[in-house]
Amino acid sequence: MSIVIKNVSKSFGDFKALRDVSLEVPEGSLLALLGPSGSGKTTLLRIIAGLEVADSGAVFHDGRDITHFTARDRKIGFVFQHYALFRHMTIAENIGYGLRVRGVAKSVRQAKVDELLKLIRLEGLGPRYPGQLSGGQRQRVALARALAAQPTVLLLDEPFGALDAKVRQELRSWLRRLHQEIHVTSVFVTHDQEEAFEVADQVVVMNHGRIEQAGSPAEVFEQPANAFVMDFLGNVNVFHGRVELGKAVVPGLEVAYPEYPHSEAKDAAVYVRPHELVIERHENGAGSIEARVLHVNPAGSRTRVELRAINSDQLMTAEITAERFAELDLKCGDTVHVSPRKVRVFVPQYSI
């Protein structure tokens, strides 16, 4: 295990940024800390880097307790959200800074800087100043600067947050390839679930200073641990109902829920992703909800269909393939039957 975090808590005044967080970052992985703003993900990253001191708990790096090490002694590369390039230094000086303060000879430094400029594909821009570069270029320079001192861990705070959509897309796949090339253990913070799923091989979902779920992107997406994770990772239809006797019941629908065999009914929510809703013209015999088509948005390969249940006025969004859409020939106002292909039932935890 490259980085191990044990029971870390941190407060800023009354605000609890982190509550008893424990996390393991496997060697060589590319891990995403994903969560809404204020979920504590950046604080956690800064505690790993040593830029912030935890109120309690410990941080280990390669089995060594580094909780009380300064940022300088940790030898962990950190890429700031707004790059934090030294504006009065050239690109080459920026990249070489980590080597300069460690007393590396100028010739060695020069060679390393050239190598990194090549890696980030900015050869020849060494003598420029940060102000003369585009956002995407600056981001790559910031990354090269963090990599120059050969850190064993690389931390990135919202690495693509300040870039426009197209550059962001390019940099994502570039970072992915770079990680395959140099294989340094990396942790990055993002609030964009798409970004986390595309780039990372481990995703950690955070909320209110706690880790809600950690795992591979497929695990987290397919088996969300709770309603928050389900809701945060993309669009979802929520049906409110109850669970009793091994079933979850929502208006117009009944689903098996063997985890709750008791007879006492309890409030529950059934979550269905838009692409997991099946639309049919006629009732298929199994449980389905009769609904009216409100709006059809045939954008790209998938068509979004907005529906309203006739019995309960529940609003729903379904996503179907373009072929299926052509087959059904849906129009606004049509009455259809909707059934879920896959559901997830979440019973709110008892809170005392």
Binding site: R72, F78, R87, Y97
Partner: protein, 366 residues
């Protein structure tokens, strides 16, 4: 649709007439011109004409007389020299304190931060005469430290300096000591021995050095009031806010991120300061120093109180001007005044040049 639009415009019209922007756009030309002329007239009468007159009066008897007025009188010569001694010392002190204060305020949140900001501005709001009087009450013969400093001031100086040196070495030791036990090696593991022994060595060697080199005069009394140290203190006090005031917004605008980046890249505090902080605030600092310098050169009130205006000893240039003026030596007074005015003009030119380099939002060189 058209009906809607018409209804909207009709409703909107009276509002537009009442909007505050309306009058400004409709001002007749005579308002514009009379305001401009009034402004120019005021500036001309109370700034330009008096300033030009200073030079006219100074050169009234020709360049030769001007030169003689400036440099033939030993007291005037001394006053120029004294100003050129006092001002740099006060400037250096204010740069050091200004950076420290700006750093504390811009980088840390601590109780009493707003109070400190208010305190920094205090010298601007206190009358300079009151400032001078404060120093007289502390360091004067009737003051708290005056009699002691007169008697033993120079005798205790080596020990004071040596204690400060020892304290600095102790602070440095604990500042640079690795925070975690496992990162400490050698002397870092023995704070009691290394600290005490190191401080003692620093103290002893500093005392010895000062005595061997005869740094401090013997059999002399240390005067603060009616002497150069008092002039430096008063000047530094009055001009204290300039550097800090200039630096705080610049440091706040730049933010701590570049400094944190330097630390995470392996720089120590000293390297971070010289490689990142100083280059970033460089122009703001120069700007503050220039303003500070202009004010320090011309300082009169506080210096007047603490100097005792002894000719040839504690008269700075502004005090000398006043004295020459009181003695009806108008050419002499205007000659010295012209030097101060010239310095002010030079300051103004450098200041406006620098304003191009310091962009208002970030204080950063473009």
């Amino acid at each position: 649709m058209p009906a809607d639009t018409i209804a909207l415009t009709e409703k909107a019209r009276p509002q537009a007439a009442a909007a505050p922007g309306w009058r400004a756009q409709q001002d007749p030309p005579w308002v514009k011109w009379s305001l401009t002329i009034a402004a120019l007239a005021v500036v001309g009468v109370i700034i330009v004409i008096p300033m030009v007159n200073v030079f006219v009066e100074a050169f009234a008897d020709g360049a030769g007389a001007y030169w003689k007025n400036l440099f033939a009188d030993p007291d005037t010569r001394h006053s120029i020299g004294l100003t050129l001694t006092v001002v740099p010392i006060a400037l250096v002190a204010n740069v050091v304190f200004g950076i420290a204060a700006a750093w504390a305020i811009a980088r840390f949140a601590f109780p009493g931060r707003t109070f400190l900001i208010a305190l920094i501005d205090l010298p601007f709001s206190v009358s300079p005469v009151v400032a001078g009087l404060m120093f007289v009450l502390i360091f004067g013969l009737q003051g708290y430290f005056g009699p002691f400093l007169r008697r033993d001031g120079y005798a205790v100086m080596p020990y004071v300096i040596a204690s400060l040196g020892a304290l600095a070495s102790l602070v440095g030791y604990f500042l640079f000591r690795p925070r975690h036990p496992s990162a400490r090696r050698g002397l870092w593991k023995l704070p009691a021995i290394a600290g005490a022994f190191g401080a003692a060595v620093v103290f002893g060697s500093l005392v010895l050095l000062q005595q061997v080199l005869h740094v401090w005069p013997e059999n002399a009394s240390l005067k603060v009031i009616f002497a150069t140290p008092g002039l430096v203190l008063a000047t530094a006090f009055v001009t204290f806010p300039f550097v800090a005031r200039e630096l705080i917004p610049v440091m706040e605008a730049i933010g701590p991120e570049e400094e944190l980046a330097a630390i995470s890249l392996g720089a120590n505090g000293w390297q971070m300061f010289w490689h990142v902080t100083v280059p970033n605030v460089k122009w703001g600092l120069v700007y503050g120093v220039i303003l500070c310098n202009a004010r320090a050169m011309g300082e009169f009130g506080a210096v007047y109180v603490v100097s005792g205006h002894i000719a040839g000893q504690t008269d700075t240039m502004p005090l000398r001007i006043e004295k020459l003026f009181q003695e009806y030596n108008l050419p002499g007074a205007f000659a010295v005044a012209s030097v101060l005015t010239l310095l002010a003009i030079v300051t103004l030119v450098i200041k406006s040049k620098l304003e191009d380099k310091v962009s208002p939002s970030t204080g950063v060189r473009r």
